[in-house]
Every structure is written in structure tokens, then in C-alpha cells.
Point group: none
Chain length 426, copies 2
């Protein structure tokens, strides 16, 4: 048996055990602030596997020193980070970080789910539940890769650092804390739901909150007021025009050729008014702003602020009542690696070996912790994971188990080639 066959067999042997473990992790509703249960399971597992495990509560006072930090809360009690290290035999070996977040977005209306969002039910080769695709399934695939390398008695030259971090969905504090704690490597793989495509470029994303002001009046004489809802729709439309403008240059990028909106601006929430028969005096527009790979957060913000300032040329009202923006929550810079990075070549090769077809390269449609690894940590980052892209944050989210195990196989092979074999215990 060659190495690939051995890896394949070893994973196949333990398939049911891994499915059970993924179910356990999915059953923990690890939304922001509620990560403890899932992280305890992860830490225990990494310890059992024989890694050096580090569990710690991210330190607000330390985080706040970084310009990449965007505080959502001011303490992380009950929300530990977990890192497990497989130390390489040589100081010269190339190291790799396997980074994945444990937090999940809220389930939305549970009644709409065919399978309860925290059930982990398996039907037709798909494991269902909130976070299965984004990204607990991915995290299990890198865990499998790492455990399989160890199970085969392979000693690597370089370090493998397995990171199970908190709070990617709401800001990236977990990965930033891991960087600040000193976890560095020559490259990072992040198994976010790329559907087994390889993403050497990952857009960043920012959350914005716009406040629009109107003038209240009785609904029966609504013409005496100014509706913040109507003014809010003007802002809404201008945001959509900005999206169009910002995406135009990316339409010729081969990494985005199949993507109708490479860097979307998603207006996720619009809330305004306080009484049915009063004219709304405030509206709040909240959303997610895609930052282009290669763009800085500062550049992206400037375009957004200019759009808001320009509103007064469209409607006089904004002259004296400007729409204002606050940035909060997600604040992920774009990430990636050079297009000739050797890990990219390795991943493509291993993908072809396992899948018997050429890998698809693309740019990510969302921000990931790869931006922090790249920009705050100086670590080239590649996204490659098994999850179904369209199911992230979706009702009836699932991960395809075959893809999960194939991803594990490819990553195991890639780790071995990247970190190099020092010895194999028989």
C-alpha cells in the first residue's frame, strides 16, 4: 500500500467514530458566548490524541492593543480558545496551522428546520445541523487528517498547530488571541466551506450599522414629518450602487469568474420606527461589507463613508441630517497567499491524486480568520474545506460526509508533504 492508500484505509476504519464525534460537537449550540461545551469536547479530544493542548480565555486587555481587534464584548469568560500542537522533530521543518472556528451563527427559526438545528441527524450521507458546514465539519476533517498522520506512526519535521478558535462569526477575537499568544507557522489552512475548491484569495468583511434620521409626526398628518424609513431606502439603494461599482473591477478576475457578486454588500437588517401611527424618526441599517483581496480595511471604509457623504447631493435632507456609520462586530481583513505559494501547488496536486480531477481555484465569497492570519499574523492562508458553501448560515445546513472524509485525506497528504516525514514508527 502506498501512503495515500494507507491514509484512505485508516480514515475509512474510523469513519463511524468520526461521525459520532462530529454529532457530539454539532449538538453543542456554540453561538457567540456559548462555546464552552464544544471547546471542552475539542480540548479533551486533542489531549486524547496526544497533542500538547493549550486552553485559555482570550484577554481583552491584550486584544485591545491590536488595530485588528473589533470588540464585541469586553470579557471572554466561558469562551476559551483551544490549541493543540504536534511538535515537529526538526527546527527546520515547515510548519502549518490548521485553523477553524467553533462558533456558529444563530439557527434562525427552528420550526423551519426539517432536522432540528442541534440534532446532528444523518440522512443520505449528509449530517445536518447549525455549524455542520460552517465549519464544524471542516474542523473534523483537519482533525481526522492530523490524527491519521499520527495513527500511521508518521513523525513530521515541522510543527502542526491545530486551532479551535472562538468568535469568527462575530469578529475574529479567537484567532487574533491565538496570534498574540505566539502561534505562528509558515502557512495556514482553514477548512471553511469552500466545497473542496481551493481559495488562495479570501475577501475581508466588515459589519456596518448606519443610522438614518427622520422627523416624527402623527400618522394622520404624516406629511408634517419626514419618514426615516423612506430616507433609509435611499441609503439602501446607494449601498447597492456602491456594491455594483466595487465589483466591476473583479469581474475579470479568473478566481471570481463564476461569481455574480464577488464582494457583496449584504444589508441584513433594517429596523425603523416606534409606533404604527407615528412617522418613524430613526432607522438603523445593518449589514456586511465585502473587502476585496488586496484592499485594506481603511480603503474600503473610505469608499463607504464617501457614499454616505454623497447622499446630500441626492436628497437635501441629508445635508442637515447626515446618515452616520459605525463599524462593529465582524471586522475581518482580506487574506490569502501568493498565487505561486508552494502549499497551493501541494493542495492542487493532492486534490488531483484523491479526486482524479483538477482542483477548482476561486476567491472566497466571505471573510474568514485567514485575513487576520495573513494581515495580523503574517501567515499566508489558504481556505480549503468540505462544507457546502450555500448552506452556511442556512436553514437545514448540512455537510456531505464523503466530502468531509476526502478533504481529510487531501489535507493529511498535504501536511505530510509540507512538513516532511522525519521518521515512521512501524
Amino acid at each position: 500500500m502506498d501512503l495515500q492508500q494507507k491514509i484512505h484505509s485508516k480514515i475509512a476504519e474510523r469513519r463511524d467514530e468520526y461521525i459520532d464525534f462530529l454529532k457530539q460537537i454539532v449538538k453543542e449550540p456554540s453561538t457567540t458566548g456559548n462555546e464552552l461545551g464544544a471547546q471542552t469536547l475539542m480540548a479533551d479530544r486533542l489531549k486524547q490524541s496526544g497533542l500538547d493542548v493549550d486552553v485559555w480565555i482570550p484577554d481583552y486587555d491584550e486584544l485591545v492593543k491590536s488595530k485588528f481587534f473589533n470588540p464585541l464584548r469586553d470579557n471572554y469568560e466561558g469562551s476559551p480558545n483551544v490549541v493543540g500542537v504536534l511538535k515537529g522533530a526538526s527546527n527546520e521543518g515547515r510548519s502549518v496551522i490548521l485553523n477553524g472556528h467553533i462558533d456558529v451563527v444563530p439557527s434562525g427559526e427552528e420550526s423551519k428546520w426539517t432536522h432540528h438545528p442541534y440534532s446532528g441527524e444523518v440522512v443520505d450521507g449528509k449530517l445536518y445541523g447549525r455549524g455542520t458546514t460552517d465549519m464544524k465539519g471542516g474542523n473534523i476533517s483537519t482533525l481526522i487528517a492530523l490524527e491519521t498522520v499520527m495513527a500511521l506512526g508518521i513523525e513530521l519535521k515541522g510543527d502542526v498547530i491545530y486551532e479551535s478558535v472562538i468568535e469568527e462569526e462575530t469578529g475574529g477575537a479567537g484567532t487574533l488571541a491565538a496570534i498574540q499568544r505566539g502561534y505562528k507557522a509558515d502557512v495556514a489552512i482553514i477548512p471553511e466551506p469552500s466545497e473542496m475548491r481551493i481559495f488562495p484569495k479570501q475577501q475581508g468583511s466588515l459589519w456596518f450599522e448606519i443610522e438614518v434620521t427622520g422627523l416624527s409626526a402623527h400618522g394622520g398628518t404624516r406629511y408634517e414629518g419626514v419618514s426615516a424609513l423612506e430616507k433609509g431606502w435611499i441609503v439602501f439603494n446607494e449601498i447597492m450602487k456602491l456594491e455594483e461599482k466595487r465589483n466591476a473591477p473583479l469581474r475579470n478576475d479568473p478566481l471570481y469568474k463564476d461569481n455574480p457578486i464577488p464582494i457583496p454588500i449584504n444589508i441584513g437588517q433594517f429596523n425603523g420606527g416606534y409606533f404604527p401611527s407615528s412617522v418613524a424618526e430613526k432607522a438603523k441599517i445593518q449589514g456586511r461589507y465585502g473587502v476585496a483581496p488586496g484592499e485594506t480595511i481603511e480603503e474600503a471604509k473610505e469608499q463607504f463613508v464617501n457614499m454616505l457623504e454623497n447622499l446630500k447631493t441626492i436628497d437635501d435632507w441629508f445635508e442637515k441630517h447626515p446618515a452616520t456609520v459605525k463599524w462593529g462586530g465582524i471586522h475581518l481583513p482580506p487574506g490569502g497567499c501568493e498565487l505561486d505559494h508552494p502549499m497551493l501547488e501541494i493542495l492542487k496536486e493532492k486534490y488531483a491524486d484523491v479526486e482524479k480531477k483538477e482542483a477548482v481555484l476561486a476567491g472566497s465569497t466571505w471573510g474568514t480568520d485567514g485575513g487576520l492570519l495573513t494581515q495580523a499574523g503574517g501567515i499566508p492562508s489558504i481556505v480549503f474545506g468540505p462544507g457546502t458553501t450555500s448552506m452556511a448560515h442556512f436553514t437545514d445546513e448540512y455537510v456531505e460526509l464523503d466530502k468531509l472524509f476526502k478533504t481529510a485525506e487531501i489535507i493529511a497528504l498535504a501536511i505530510i508533504e509540507w512538513c516532511e516525514i522525519n521518521s515512521i514508527k512501524k
Copy 2:
């Protein structure tokens, strides 16, 4: 001295006493459910004046039998209605109801008030406080009118029924209960804040709540979802078109000639989405729907529902995901009287006598209990009161005292002419 001079002198004599009484009433924060203090003052006053006073708790089981009832609560303990009757000398005399609500809307942020909302402070001829204009000031003006008639020893042929009712601001249960208890008259005057204009037509109003459905997706691939916000905006626009269509026929009505939107549809609240970087799957649109004088609630609802059903011809999405409406909260039918109603002539004439100028007739911009009196009670209703229209529901609400006393004078004269003098005690 002619009758008008006598009335004027009598009112002037007791001016300070009435201001004190209004202050006492304003100091009672008679929001929905908290009417007892103010109603006790009113009942005691009516008794002292020599009326037959009826104080009772509206009966939910009785109210619920009426199609005009829109329940906000299921019992009225602590919220009595008060009616005082001045019985006329003849069974043939024309009767009149003087109807006013004792409930007030909440004060909003008290810190924004220059004068505390329940202080009843008088500055520069204005008495400040929540409910002064809407409509405790009006209620005092009709009380003054009635007491003045009595103080002058005038015995009327027809009955005068003074109603101090609960819960106009949140549904009309008080007036409906008074109708059910058997209080009927040939005409009703409601001293809502018309700013001494005479409103022979009063629009009704309904509160609506529309739910719009989208399809959630990750914000980074928002093109895979369907935004309930964008769909909601289509609904918003269609509501505005319906408003335009419904108002067109009223634009030639002389009563609405100075009103840019005679029967407004006010969209007061728009709330949708649950997460900045998810596509919104629900949006809720809440507002206030003006019902045209002469229109039934059923007819108005039908137009609204048709508009919603028509959405599918504008956007296929609504075919399988129809926008739905619930009606709740305010549910006031339109009211009014014939334009050749003799009481209307009397009010115009008495207004001219007192004010030395022609009365302004208009249609009300809001619903009042006049709708229930007209449609549930079959009693023609006219709104005529001293309050400042724009101050209703507003911070620093006030009533102008001169207008209050002039209104009292006009109403006293009108009552005497309408009910006719049977005898005068010397």
C-alpha cells in the same frame, strides 16, 4: 344682557375655578388602565353639578358581541366609564351627547418635556401636560358649557348626555360600552383637538401588520437568498400607491382642500432581518391605515388585501410567498354627519357669533370615537374642540385656555339652540 353675554360673563366669573379643575384632571396620568383617578374626579364633579351620574365598568362579555370591538384587554377592572345626564323637560326635545375620552397616550421621554407631563403648569395662557389638548381641555370646555347652561337656570327640552369614556386611544371600548348601555342621542359633539375648526367628517383608522417572507442565505453569497427587506420595499411602494389611489377622490372634497393627504397610510415601523451578514428572511411592516368618511372598515380592508394579493403580478416571488396582513390595535370606523345636518349649521352660526368670523370646516386627519357613535350607535357626530391639533401625542402638549373658554361658550349656545329652552328659572 342677551343670552350670549350672560354665558360669557358666567364663564368668565368661574374661569379660575375651571383652570384649577383642569389642572387636577391633568395631574391624573390616565393612560390606558389607569383611568380611575381622573374618572373619580369627573364623576364627583358631575354629581356636584346635579346630573344623574352613572359609573360602571365596561363588560368584556358584552363588548365582544359587537363587530366594532377590538379587544386590547379582557377586563376593565379599575377603568370605569362615567356618564352624567341632564334630563330634558320634554320627550320631544332634541338630545345631544357630549363625548370625550379621559385616556391619554403615554408621555414618552419625560426628560424631553419643558413642563412635567402631569404638572398642569400654566404659562402664557397655555396649560401644559399630557392630554391637555387630546382631550382633557376639550372635555372641560363641554363641562363648562353644560354647567353654564344650568347655572343660568335654563331648563332644556331635550337631554344632554355628558360622556367621559375610557380607551379611545387604544381602541374605543369606552364609547362602545356607552352605546351598548343605551346612551343614544340625536347628535354628538366630540371636543377632540380640532383647533376650533368644525369636522363634520372624521376618518377612521386601522392598524396593520404585514409579514413579508424572504429566503435566508449567507451575506457573502447573498445572490443565493432572497431579501425580505427588498421584497418589503416592494410592498412599501405598493402601499404608497394605494394611498395615492385612495386619496384621489378626496382631493376635490372642499373639506380636505388644505390637506395634502386626506386619508394617509402611515408606515410607522419596518423591521426585518436577524443578522448583519445573513440575508433577511422576514420583514414586518406596521402602520396606520386611514379609512375614508363614508367607507366601511370592511371595504377599506378589502382594498388593502387586494393590493397585497396583486403583488404577485408585480413580482413572481409573492406567488408562493404571499405577504400577509393582521389587523390589531386601533380599529376606529370613520364618523360624521350629513353636510346639511342642522347641528352643523348651529355650530357654524354660534362660532360666527362668538369669534366674529366664519368657521372653518374640514375633515379630521385622525380617527375618533365619532366613528363608533356614527356607525355602531347611529348617531351623527361632529368634532369641534379647542386643542391644538399638532400637539396631540406630542412632547410639551398644551391647550390654549382662551380657545378652551371660547369653545365652551360656543357649545353652550349650540346646546341651548339644539335642545331648546323649556323655561328659565329666575
